[in-house]
């Protein structure tokens, strides 16, 4: 029987807790879940969501190199993205979190707020060289917890062959997008494909309209926020966007674009591996159109950051873990990873080089410069906001309520829920 490590060694357990500990140990044993094993001092574990090939192998290569530099072996523990947080939580409750976790930017505040992460500055990782966006992306309430290797955002992909055929320039403003989407809608083909799920996929895609128009997740019933929703609804009402988008994930939007059922789509660079499987498709990408020419396009910033979970029993391991994080996120490592994985480096120097090496994705570099983090203002409450926005989006798109009413209700919902908790 291995010892559990949730408390400082040497403190005897009170009798009742001992019984409970024994009972839970038996339970875990019976349930086939191993207890927190004694850790091998030379083996470090990094948890990420890189289950897909070739990303998994690429990751292992970098981790092996960084492990060699730190004099340890690095094991990679990859779990599907939607299971990473539940799995990490289960590991946290049994005190067996891995040495490094690659967390999605919108999950980081929750872990930090719960006291589960070590501030990277405490582990000797300097923050003075970081750009403001890198710092903002990995921070919660002003403390820097996560070093990002690369980030991503959204852009407007278009089928260059179709646009050329119709004599249409890639749109840059809402009005241009509206007219080109209408002109490109023909037969089985819609002008534009988006994801409008009520979950994070759809909400993430709604944010560029909301933010570029001066709207805000904290003021959902403001005229700017309502207008943004109104705009998306008008595209569906005009028939330029399929009403089925309420069921489309971002991957579905990509499939429709590839199949020729949409001339343009909103999507992220993570679709590149699938798009590359279709070399016959002549596509290009531009920044997401803005309300009026000259406005700034504000899209959400996405991606993962390497964090070091608190390790009460082996504080020494935190130091080595931080060295691994530093090695994984150097400017060279960022450029290397971004070029391979079609993401955007956070380091400005690396980003510039990236624009030259992968010119077709350069618009994402520009988009990331002005992109905003979802948790910047609302932190751990993002889930509540996201849920309310998703509900409003679908209520308006399916005609259940007007954009005005939908956003008004979303605002009420958020206020009552957030107040209920504070």
């Amino acid at each position: 029987m291995h010892a559990h490590h949730h408390r400082p060694p040497g403190t005897p357990l009170p009798p009742r807790r001992r019984v409970r500990a024994a009972a839970s140990a038996t339970l875990l044993l019976l349930a086939g879940v191993g207890c927190a094993a004694e850790r091998d001092p030379d083996v470090y574990t990094i948890m990420n969501s890189g289950t897909d090939e070739p990303y998994h192998s690429w990751d292992q290569e970098v981790m092996d190199a960084c492990g060699a530099q730190a004099g340890v072996r690095v094991d990679q523990l990859s779990v599907p993205a939607d299971q990473l947080v539940p799995k990490a939580l289960r590991m946290a409750s049994s005190g067996s979190l891995p040495d490094v976790i690659s967390l999605d930017g919108s999950d980081l505040p929750q872990f930090a707020e719960a006291g589960g992460l070590v501030p990277l500055e405490d582990l000797g990782l300097p923050t003075d060289d970081l750009t403001e966006s890198a710092l903002a992306f990995g921070s919660h309430e002003g403390v820097y917890y996560g070093a990002a290797r690369s980030v991503n955002s959204l852009g407007l992909f278009y089928n260059a062959a179709v646009l050329a055929e119709e004599g249409i320039e890639p749109p840059t403003s809402w009005e241009e997008l509206r007219s080109s989407a209408a002109a490109l809608t023909e037969g089985d083909r819609y002008g534009l494909a988006i994801s409008a799920l009520s979950t994070e996929d759809g909400v993430y895609q709604f944010l560029p309209w909301l933010w570029s128009n001066g709207g805000d997740e904290r003021e959902l019933s403001s005229p700017e926020s309502v207008e943004a929703l109104q705009y998306i609804v008008s595209l569906v009402d005009a028939g330029s966007v399929s009403p089925s988008v309420v069921n489309w994930t971002q991957a579905d939007a990509n499939d429709q674009f590839i199949a020729g059922n949409a001339a343009m789509m909103i999507n992220g660079p993570w679709q590149m591996p699938v798009l590359r499987e279709h070399p016959e498709l002549d596509w290009a990408v531009v920044e997401i159109p803005v309300p009026e020419a000259g406005d700034t396009s504000v899209a959400p910033i996405g991606g993962e950051a390497y964090t070091v979970p608190v390790n009460v029993d082996h504080p020494g391991r935190e130091q080595v873990a931080a060295a691994l994080v530093a090695c994984l996120t150097t400017a060279e490592a960022q450029l290397d990873w971004s070029t391979k994985g079609s993401n955007v480096p956070l380091d400005p120097g690396a980003a510039e080089e990236y624009s030259e090496q992968v010119p077709e994705l350069a618009p994402f570099v520009d988009q990331v410069r002005t992109a905003r983090s979802r948790t910047e203002h609302v932190g751990t409450e993002w889930n509540t906001y996201s849920q309310a926005i998703g509900t409003a989006l679908q209520a308006a798109l399916t005609g259940r309520s007007s954009p005005q009413d939908a956003m008004g209700r979303a605002q009420e919902q958020v206020e009552s829920q957030v107040e209920g908790r504070s």
């Binding site: 409750s93 707020e113 006291g115 009520s198 979950t199 089925s244 889930n383 399916t398």
Partner: protein
Amino acid sequence: MRAPATARRRALTPWLFLAPALVYLLLFFGYPLVRNVVMSFQDYTFATYFTGEAPFNGLENWRAVFANELFAASLWRTLLFTAGSLAGQFGIGMALAVFFSRRFPLSGVMRSLLLLPWLIPMVVAGTVWRRVLDQETGVLNEALQALHLTSAAVPWLSSPDHALLSVVLVNIWIGIPFNMVILYGGLQEIPAELREAAVLDGAGPLRTFFSVTLPLLRPVVTVVLVLGFMSTVKILDLVLALTGGGPAHSTETLGTLTYQLSFLQLDFGQGAVVGNVLIIISMVFAALYLRANRGGGTR
């Protein structure tokens, strides 16, 4: 002195045999159940996993869930979904069972073909049906329009007015084999002489079915309906694969609401409340089932 010891041993023996089953039940059913009930009175959040602290907050979670308008709507939809699914599955399953209980060439082959939906994992079925029901590219709409049955594409999954019906139809498709197999087995056990006697007495096929076959089938029917109810009322995977509860929450059931509250909003206390409501509903039906069986279990 020996006699009481033997008596005590004799009294203990049955418990020894029961012990493994009891331990199993307590560990794998009792513990999670009690845990879930306790959790519904706790402020169980993200931080709980790190600190182990989940302060009791009385009826706070229950109040919040009952105040959430999604809860009442989901409860209503769960009932609609369950009633619709059961009626369809049972009706079609029974018709097919009666049909196949007559011997004819290839009936065995066709019966096994009809079992196919049962072999397909729920998530796979959901994904395939999502494509079939797609408004623009789905096979169903293309077929309907080619046959001139509908003039425009039906928004099976993308309109809040149709989505629940579509999910019920897919669930009926999934549930038919189970109903058919169990009812078919029950029909085989009814002695043919009884039906022949009814026919000799001048009863037509319908009269024979409703006055002889169905009453004799009652215990089997109860089993099918109760088991069907239990698996339908807690539906989660099919809805998640087909619509994810949308569009506009129109297919949100208690199952998906539990999932949403616990794993998307990470409010495990409120999630537990909805889970408990589901358990209570199931327990009511389990009790009804036990009572029905005690009364009619003399077969």
